[in-house]
């Protein structure tokens, strides 16, 4: 298209202007800041990490390290057990918060507090409660004549504390998600089953659960991926203690990299979890529309 002057004296748009006006260019210009951020701080670090993690020696070192094997088991407990218990409780609790009594609304508001309080203060409170000498738990155990428990000084109860804190902190969030999911179910369905005289359990079995199932699965996947990378809760609750027995992948990678100076081991630790993570993300991409 050559620039010609029309009668009105208006020139046809130049090629630069046309390119600038195309939807594709404009779309890229508007999303450019995001794309630059993602490329620089997600894609590049990812590629860097995978590149380093290709070294087979790191994996040999990892799998011969008993701490690493213990860490994998701990992570499976944390991701497999804690997340599923939490989401199942969230599903049940969302049913309770769905009742339309006025005081339930107050309960729901108070119930959100652990979600609103940042993780660190909550963890500190738990840690002091679990302190073997001056904690309230051992104090109460003593009052009722039980022996005190070294909560954070033995593997099982220390990992248990991490799991319990995780449930305490994140249960409200997922409950609210499921509550919103329940509220999105059209009321006519329950009106119809009421005519058929369905019980509460039948309502759940034939209406609520089938309609919440996909949401439940998506939330399970999301929560598992988030929890797989959790550093803050295990690190601040136990720091891997006692004797590096309660690490999860993220805290062990930190220890390898920043306390032992083995960058390649740290990266390999995450790389071990990467295939699972990418599989989960693939499923999510198919299920979730954004």
């Amino acid at each position: 298209m050559s620039p010609t002057t029309r009668e009105g004296g208006r020139r046809a748009p130049s090629r630069v202007a046309l390119v600038l006006r195309s939807r594709t260019t404009q779309g890229f210009l508007f999303t450019a800041p995001l794309l630059v951020l993602f490329a620089a701080f997600v894609i590049y670090p990812m590629a860097f990490g995978v590149w380093y993690a290709l070294d087979a020696d790191s994996y040999r070192a990892l799998f011969s390290d008993p701490t690493f094997r213990q860490t994998v088991v701990n992570t499976l407990w944390y991701v497999g057990f804690a997340v599923n218990v939490k989401l199942f409780l969230a599903l049940l609790l969302s049913g309770i918060l769905d009742f339309q009594f006025a005081w339930i609304r107050v309960l729901a508001a108070l119930f959100l507090i652990p979600w609103a309080v940042p993780a660190l203060p909550g963890i500190l409170s738990f840690r002091w409660m679990l302190n073997s000498q001056w904690g309230i738990f051992n104090y109460l155990l003593g009052k009722f004549g039980f022996a005190s428990v070294p909560w954070l000084a033995q593997h099982d109860t220390a990992l248990g504390a991490v799991i319990v804190f995780h449930i305490w902190k994140y249960l409200p969030f997922w409950t609210i998600i499921f509550l919103a999911g329940r509220r999105a179910i059209p009321n006519e369905l329950y009106e119809a089953t009421a005519i058929d005289g369905a019980s509460a359990l039948q309502n759940f079995r034939y209406v609520t659960f089938p309609l919440l199932r996909n949401l439940y699965l998506i939330c399970t996947l999301l929560s598992m991926v988030f929890t797989l990378g959790d550093f803050t809760v295990p690190w601040l609750m136990t720091g891997g203690a006692p004797g590096d027995s309660t690490h999860v992948l993220a805290t062990l990678a930190y220890r390898y990299t920043f306390q032992m100076g083995r960058l390649e081991w740290g990266l390999a630790t995450f790389a071990v979890a990467l295939p699972v993570t990418l599989g989960f993300i693939g499923l999510l991409l198919r299920w979730v529309k954004i």
């Binding site: 508007f30 309770i96 609103a116 990467l274």
Partner: protein
């Protein structure tokens, strides 16, 4: 439920309420006790710290006055540290709002060709645990000599908070009527003018909400702050608090006072904006079913 209940239905409703209230007591005990215990410790004088109990015998505000007055080696840089947290959170808020507003306009209003690619990349960033990227990110910042600068932490926070913000804004923007572009076209406005003068004012409510989300994300962040910042006057508040734990004789009552102060802004903001903070995820997930 319960509006048109007959008499037996109402009786059943009462039985239900009793059962529910018993459950509610359990739930509230579980939910509130750790928070109550944090507050209780923050009002406990040091002399009583080693005598556990369910209430404070001699409540004191001394832990708070020490904190505010930086009157203890552990809280020597309290105002610096809370200031650092605030600066990082405010920058994250502003940048996330800007980046996500621009992005959401493209995603929701311009039907450009590579939208699926951008949304895939966004979801990927949202889902991939940020800790997986922390070590390479640290290495990168060390290479660019940006360790110990707030900029490095702000960049990380903006990157990881942007996907959710984009999601919420795009979702809202898609529900706006198509008249925006038409009005812009009639006035002869270009795309940029349409964005600035027609689009931005319309998305103000969710923009405030995602700004809050980004603020909270940065305020609560621990791992990246721990990695990227060093030196007592330069760290953010959570890192400073976790440094208490490295010593054996940490003053836990003082620590709980700092905890309480640190927790107040997020609690206030969560309660003001909770509606917005969950709706994005839900609509995304429910729409996908």
């Amino acid at each position: 439920m319960g509006d048109d209940m007959s008499a037996p239905g109402r009786r059943k409703g009462r039985g239900l309420q009793v059962g529910l209230s018993l459950l509610a007591i359990v739930i509230l005990g579980w939910t509130l006790f750790p928070v109550y215990y944090m507050l209780l410790l923050s009002f406990t004088p040091t002399d009583d710290l080693f005598q556990p109990g369910l209430y404070v015998e001699h409540p004191t505000v001394r832990n708070y006055t020490y904190t505010m007055g930086q009157d203890n080696p552990f809280v020597r840089y309290f105002w610096h540290q809370i200031g650092n947290s605030l600066v990082v959170a405010l920058w994250a808020m502003a940048l996330v709002a800007a980046v996500a507003a621009l992005g959401s306009f493209a995603m929701a209003r311009l039907h450009f060709r590579f939208r699926r690619f951008v949304s895939g990349l966004t979801l990927f960033t949202y889902v991939i645990p940020s800790s997986f990227l922390s070590i390479p990110f640290f290495k990168m910042m060390a290479d660019y000599d940006l360790i110990d600068t707030k900029l490095s932490l702000i960049l990380a926070m903006v990157t990881f908070a942007a996907p959710y913000a984009l999601w919420v804004l795009s979702d809202y923007a898609r529900s706006l009527p198509p008249e925006i572009e038409e009005a812009g076209a009639i006035d002869g406005a270009g795309t940029l003018a349409t964005f600035l003068y027609l689009y931005l004012p319309l998305i103000r409510p969710p923009l405030i909400a995602i700004g809050t989300y980004a603020f909270l994300y940065a305020w609560n962040e621990y791992l990246y702050a721990l990695l990227l910042l060093t030196g007592e006057p330069r760290v953010t508040l959570p890192v400073a608090m976790s440094n208490f734990l490295t010593t054996d004789n940490a003053p836990w009552n003082l620590l709980m006072a700092v905890s309480t102060v640190y927790a107040i802004p997020p609690v206030v903001l969560y309660y003001c904006f909770k509606r917005y903070l969950v709706s994005g995820l839900v609509s995304g997930a429910v729409a996908g079913t």
